[in-house]
Every structure is written in structure tokens, then in C-alpha cells.
Amino acid sequence: MRSYHWPPLLPVLALVLMPFLPFVNTTGLWLGLPRMMVWGGFWCLMFTPALLLSERLMRGREEER
């Protein structure tokens, strides 16, 4: 795996593990919404900065060549 593959891994893990996290998969609300919904929405949003960072790292690598 190259350095540019790493950034989106954290959101992927956060989403795949979502139902197993006891503080996420529980009753109670965050911001008036179900916790799973807030957690899922937040980490989906995090894909964009992660992939933009990956793109930057890829470009840097291409320029180095």
C-alpha cells in the first residue's frame, strides 16, 4: 500500500464498525438525531477531505517522478 491509500481508511473503518461501537449503537440522540445517523453522516462527509488529501499525495508522487 502506498501513502496515498491511507487517508480514506479511517472513515471506512469508522463506518464498517459503526454497529459494533457501544457509544454509537445505543439509544439516545446527538443533535436531536439518532447517534448512528450522526456518526454515519459525519464519517461519510470525511471521505471528501480524505480523498482530496489522497489526490494531493498522488500528484506529489507523480511530480517527484
Binding site: N25, T27, G32, P34, M36, F47, E55
Partner: protein, 473 residues
Amino acid sequence: MILTFTLAGIVLIGVLGFVGRRKPVADLAEWTVGGRRFGALTMWFLQAGEVFTTFTFLGMAGLAFSGGVAAMYALPYVPIAYVVLFFLAKRLWTLGKERGYLTQGDFLEDRYSSRALGTLSAVLGVVFVLPYLQLQITGLGLIVRLVTGDSASGTLSMITGSVLVVAFVLWAGLRGVAATSYFKDGIMLVALVVLIVAVPTHFAGGIPAVFHKIEQLHPEKLIVHSGANDHVWFVTSMLVSAIGVGLMTLPHSWPALMSARDPKVLRRNYAWMPVYELCLLLPMIVGFAAILVVPKGSDPNGVLLTLSKDALPGWVTGIIVVAATATAMVPAAGILIGISSLVARNIVRVRSGRKQFWINHGTVVLASTLALVLGIFRPDLLANLLLLTYSGSVQLAPANLLGFLRRVPVGKGPVFAGLIAGELVVVWLTFVDTHLVGTVNVGLVGLAVNVVVLGLAVVVERFVVTASAKEAA
């Protein structure tokens, strides 16, 4: 009034499809992938077109109504798939451009030097995706029937919608899908915003009030718990869907990807599309509101329209219905292009480009007629096959993944063996021994068997090659 509004909306979508192209074309590549010249904006709506279907509109609300937050499995799989596609896009697009691929069958046939593999993948693609086409058409009828309460109106809408989709697809190909996608996403966003404001306010006094009531009255809907939609179901369903979309196993995703002007366009869209994906949360919230007011046991797919009919004036419901019909008609057009190009390129093989073009167009008419007739007279006939759409298609993932590598490391034999074993396991677990693996997604079990058989076949293949090389020496 709603029926008139809906029929006018269906006709408008058809007209927009025709506007997608000014002159007719007789070239299958131009018709299927729009000359590979689409920029970022068109690609955005084409890519979104595959994601936002009737399932988004009616299904997500229904899933939240029946399963609560278990519906959240459907939110992350597309962004996870986009991560895979973000890294694969350049390789895939370049291969497609250099080797002239239009379909998944073209890709597999070329990478494994096997016409038989191209044909088998195409046949599987058609078999698994035809029910998905029917789902869009019957979805259209369901939408109108639910709102008007008249089944004849539903059938009339199905026929009108199908005829118009066929007409604009024949005329404009992928350009027609692109043109209608702009309208579809625009009206869908308007409808979702109206619904998300009006429905929770009307029935509970706002979105936070909906969830506070759910917390008090139905706290089990806020967690993934044991039962049919448990943790294992959640994760395995998410993974199968992510693998299927990320490794391009659904045939109708190929023409859209191949139509991009360059891979940078694709990459930029894959980076930003997860933000757009959050729109899926909106019908889910409507589904939660339905838990409070719609009687338990009601048809989950109908809850969004039932609530909008109760909360909104007739003409606004008309807009919602037009948006819902657009989410059925536009994806149906994209699916038709995926099916017809597979048949013309990889199943019925003719040398003449002109004959290939006419076979393609004949398939558009035939496939949509079949889906429409079965949708009206035997809606249950293809329903079982729909269970195989994702779990069956995903069995092509190992073949695709290995084919993306610079040098394909395995021969066609092991890929055939794995694919056939995976499909047999999926069919067995879906129709014969339905409880054997509990809540694990059968597609994932099939995929595991597929990979093991493929690995064993590679070992056997290498052993046979080494032995015959020694004999020859």
C-alpha cells in the same frame, strides 16, 4: 389532478430525453458512451443517476419505517465503493479508451482472452439486472397507484413511462440519460427538501420532536439489534454492496464510467459525491416520522407517499410524484443501455457494426417490453431473481479485480471455476437452504467460496503447467 400532473411529468422527462441528442447516430460507441466526451457536471449527474433510484425515494423511507437505524447500512456502501473507484478510475478509464470497451463483457473477454467468459458474464449481467429494470417500471406504477388509489392509473403510467423511456433511449442513448438526469436530480432535491420540512413538522412538530418521540415510544428503532437486521446482516450487506459497486460488477455502471472525458473528471466526482450521498438521510427521516403515524404492518414502500399526501396540498404532492417517477424512469433508461450493449456486443455476436447497432436497439425494445409485460401481468415472476441482483453480480468481483492488474495473474479456467462455484452457492442459499448462514449476506458467502475455488484452481493450473513443461523437457 395528481394523475394529470404525473402524466405531464412523465411526458416532460421523455421530451428531455429526446433533447439529449439533436441528430440520430448509427454508431454503437457514440450511442452507448456518448463518444467518451462527458465533462465533470454531466458525469456527476450520470453517476448520481445510478445511485438515486426509486429505492432512494421510496425504499429508504420504507427501510427506516420497518427497520429503524438498520437502514443506515445503505448510506456508507456507495461512498466506500467510491474510495475503491477513486483509485481504480484512471486504470479503468485508460484501459477502456485504449481497448475500446463499452461493456463489462468486453473487458473480461479482452483481459482473459476468452470469448466464453465475456459471454457468460454478459448472460449473468442480463439475468441479474432485468429484474432491476422491472423493479423501476413496477415502482413507477406503484407510485401512481398509491397516490391516486386507482390501479388502472398505475398501469397507464407504467405503459406511458416505458414507451417514452424506450423512445428516448433509442434516439439519444446515453446522452438522453444524461439530459434527463439533470432534471431528475433537480426535482428530487426539491421534493426531498419539501418533504423533510413539511412531514416532520406536520406530524410531530419538527425533526428533533420526531426522534424524541421515537426515543420514548420505540427506542428499539434507534439501535441495530438481534433479529433479521442484526449486526452481521448490517455489515455483510454493506460490504457486499460496496464490493459490487466498487469493483464494477453491475453492467449498467460501465457505459457511464466509460463516457468520461478523462479520468480526472471521474476522480474529482468520486471525491465529492459522498457529500451528495447524505441526501439519503432525508427519506430516512421521513421513514422515522412514519413510525409514529402509519400503522405497523403497512406496505413500507408506500409510507413516504402516504405521509406526503396527508401533509401536503395536492399540487405539491404532484411534484413529489413527478420526482418519484423520475427516479424510476432515468435509472431504467441507464439499465436498458447496460442490458442492450451486453447483448449486442457479447451475446449475439455479429461482425457488421450496422447489424450490431440494430441488435442493440431491438434488445432495448424487447427487454423493456418483457419487463413491462411481466410487471403488469406477473409481477412476482422476476421478483425472486431480484434477490440475486447484488449477491449474484458480486461474484464477478474477483474476475474484475484481477483483470484490473497490469498483468492478469490467473488464466480463464480458475476464474470460470470460482465464478460458477460462487453463483451456485448463492442460488442454493437464496432458494434452497435459506437459513443455513443465518443473517450473513449470501453474496459474501458465495464470494468466499468463489475466491477459495479460484485459488485452488490456480494451484491446480500451475501444477498441470509445470508437469507438462517437465514432460516436454
